[in-house]
């Protein structure tokens, strides 16, 4: 029970921080013609969750931290609902082509960076393990 509450609290805090960072980046990019902010957030968040997942695959983080950073921060920082809204907005205001470009950059960029992050996280974790480091 206590552990479950700690996880919920840590997800809440992570979600707050991830959302605030997303909001801050959105404010900086609001005047651009293309929603670069959302692209940047989704790509960076995918990389970070990749590193965390790759690292955690070998070394397990303490429960509440893992959920707080992964589910809370990365989850709150990235977004699918805004992506859907952006795509529809671009499709209506500009062209179907522009909306397709937006989706393709998000999709391929996000998956590529997630794969790179997984690899990087696994590298670091296995090197540390070989060195006999406890962390």
């Amino acid at each position: 029970m206590k552990q479950q509450l700690a996880i919920l609290l840590s997800i809440f805090i992570g979600g707050v921080l991830g959302t605030l960072l997303r909001y801050a980046i959105n404010l900086q990019t609001i005047n651009l013609l293309f929603p670069l902010g959302t692209i940047l957030e989704n790509l960076l968040g995918s990389f970070l969750l990749g590193v965390l997942t790759g690292w955690g695959a070998v070394k397990v983080l303490p429960g509440a931290w893992k959920e707080g950073i992964g589910v809370g921060f990365c989850g709150g920082f990235t977004t699918m609902s805004t992506l859907a809204a952006d795509a529809v907005f671009i499709g209506g205001e500009r062209s179907f082509m522009a909306a397709a470009v937006y989706i393709i950059i998000s999709l391929f960029g996000g998956v590529f960076l997630a794969l790179a992050g997984l690899k990087a996280g696994e590298e670091v974790a296995s090197r540390r393990q070989k060195a006999g480091d406890l962390l």
Partner: protein, 126 residues
Amino acid sequence: MTILLVAVGGGLGAVSRYLLGILIKSRTKERRIPTAMLIVNILGAFGLGLFFGWVYREVPSMVYDDLRYLFIGVGFFGAFTTFSTFSIETSTLIRKKKWGDCALYVGSSIIGSIMCFVLAMMITAG
């Protein structure tokens, strides 16, 4: 006030995603594609569409001074849905070379989210 609304909306969105994800996982069998986040993302896009259609009757832009938009749109639904987990789950399917499942997961997530968003807007915007 502005920042507080974004923050609380985001925190609630993330916790709701986690709890709903657990609920879906406990009720569904192991599938070829990760259904929990697929359902959460589609549901979140649908919810954002309902909100946009109802309040703005269009996809709003430049409404960063509207507190409802900040709390519900940027905060809650922004954090309720996720792209990072989607990327990781897609990567996992790629690593397992499950190309068919991968295409199904990517297609249903992206097209499903967009279509449900549009459908929801049509329902509320009339």
